[in-house]
Symmetry: C2
Subunit: 352 residues, 2 copies
């Protein structure tokens, strides 16, 4: 279904319905439409068109004698081609940028702050996804010897993300040995992604099972502990900011079950992570409307998200989630602009 299938007037009316419905939250009728929208025909004509749009699956009504409201498809057509883009106001831009001027911080904090601001400006929940697992590019590894045959592993990714974990080792190694190992690995894993690092380790372990080189063997074993173990569980970080704002949205009042599913999704994360991962493919804003997000119980919510590319590499995803009835025309440009501005800020090296 494309919006081009519709006559100009149908488009006008669909746009007006969505706009009005998003604003008021009430099903809109032909009468309201003829009064509050710039449409040059009578309620009766509008009714005919509304009826057509409903037949095409773009509008529904909650009951026979009620006004119309958009379906998921209706929103989709609206978002794809009918809505105007309301670019963020100067004030909004300032609010977003205000977060940058703080002292230098780590990527995750910059993004988290951005999502907090997004949540504030949109009155929805803000999301940040930091890719973990394989997506990251290796930059540096360091081992720190601790008591009790434990080694603190610090892995730094090119994006500036830092992962730490504690690994147990069988034989007690001196810090010097650890340093030699990390020097070796830093050299070895240069410019690889963590996924490639992992593959490389597994390969090497298979190939050189019987090597007698102590250092090499220890390095392999230690890097296995550091990279492979526990890595399959993702490592992506999903941060949700301002979830409480969604609570007060009138759309959910009286429907605790809807809310519950939303919050459960926030907690379980994996579903949302999957969804957000899909945004990694492109640097465009992705919009999932209602049931499009494929998360059960969340068919009343929409997600607007965009991946942040810095230096050609995806750094993370920021976005906003809230009731389907949201101001797409304002929120989409806002997320868009925020991502752009963040990417620019980060790539200018003020922070990393």
């Amino acid at each position: 279904m494309e919006s081009t299938d519709l006559t100009f007037r149908s488009q006008e009316i669909l746009r007006a319905v969505v706009n009005l419905f998003v604003e008021t939250g009430e099903p809109v009728g032909s009468r309201t439409l003829s009064k509050r929208a710039p449409i040059a025909c009578s309620p009766a004509t509008i009714r005919n068109i509304l009826s057509d749009l409903a037949e095409a699956g773009l509008l529904t009504k909650p009951h026979v004698s009620a006004g119309r409201m958009p379906t998921d498809l209706g929103y989709r057509i609206y978002v794809n081609g009918l809505m105007g883009r309301h670019e963020p106001t100067a004030e909004e831009r300032l609010t977003i940028e205000a977060g940058y001027s703080r002292e230098i911080r780590q990527v995750e904090q910059i993004l988290a702050h951005a999502s907090r601001v997004l949540s504030e400006l949109t009155n929805q929940a803000g999301l940040v996804l930091l890719p973990g697992g394989g997506q990251l590019e290796f930059q540096h590894i360091e081992f720190i010897r601790m008591a009790g045959r434990q080694v603190l592993v610090v892995i730094v990714a090119k994006s500036g993300l830092v992962q730490t974990r504690i690994a147990a080792i069988e034989e007690d190694l001196l810090q010097e040995e650890l340093d030699r190992i990390s020097r070796y690995l830093n050299d070895e894993f240069k410019d690889l992604s963590l996924r490639e690092v992992r593959q490389k380790i597994v390969e090497r372990m298979r190939e050189d099972r019987d090597t007698f080189d102590q250092l090499y063997r220890r390095a392999l074993e230690l890097s296995r502990r550091a990279f492979v173990e526990g890595a399959e569980e993702g490592g992506e970080t999903l941060v949700v900011e301002g979830a409480s704002r969604v609570l007060s949205q009138p759309d959910f009042s009286g429907d605790v079950e809807k809310l519950r599913s939303l919050y459960r999704a926030f907690e379980e994360k994996n579903k949302l992570v999957q969804l957000l991962d899909r945004c990694l493919a492109s640097a465009e804003v992705a919009v999932f409307i209602g049931a499009e997000n494929q998360i059960e119980g969340m068919d009343d919510c929409s997600l607007v998200a965009r991946c942040l590319y810095v230096g050609g590499k995806p750094l993370g995803t920021i976005g906003v989630i809230g009731p389907k009835r949201m101001h797409y025309d304002r929120i989409i440009p806002l997320v868009d602009w925020t991502a752009d501005s963040l990417a620019q800020f980060i790539s200018h090296g003020e922070a990393r």
Copy 2:
């Protein structure tokens, strides 16, 4: 007000009221009481006693012709002396312990998992507070040189907590120099708490403002960047698990505002952190009932928490938060037992 001010029968009845109310959520009347509780007197007598308890401020009723429900004070008396302790069942213990048998992880993950299990078993939200800031004991610091005059600082606390931050430096230092500095600092800060470390740095900087020792000056400057800057913002980590479970509690249905405040408290954290910090003083379960928690809008919620002491040092706090109407007799022993068992597990060195 002590429970000893009450006659034996009053105590019996108060206990019965709380038990029944916690179970059903409905105000309990004299009739129900005489039927469903082991009390050897008629509804009329019970009514008299209920009236006394109400006068003493332990019970209220939502309206004139309704049954009684406990006030905060009523719950307090109940918790302090009247309730029986229902120790966790074998099954519950197994569920809790099941989390330990996984591969070794960092403290925060062990605690987070415990709180997830607590949330599951109690159907409330689980909380973990990891002390940050000054409370931690210094164990190790390490600097890792990164591109663009930035240094990754890794601070390891005795408890096993790892903090990383990125500091910018004016002059580019070689990794060797950084290593020398960290060796020096590791020696210098041995056995201090982070708060003491911070104080020490500030003092030294004042005293030795004009030193000419390069290494020393750089070490001071770098450690200021590492410890002092940005440290005032707490650094405590609060993790809330299973917040969505509270949503479906019937106590809040229809009262979105209450829910909103609760969730806002989860997000803002500082209020909750303050509250949980109070638990650090002792190794006993702390219970904050209703308005006792002093958080506005959360006077319908109770918090049960206990600090985890390992080796005489507080390692963190775990707890449970939910509607005031909760099974204190089951939840308090559960939190208690979980904390004990966790502390034991951690101190046995299986993880740190």
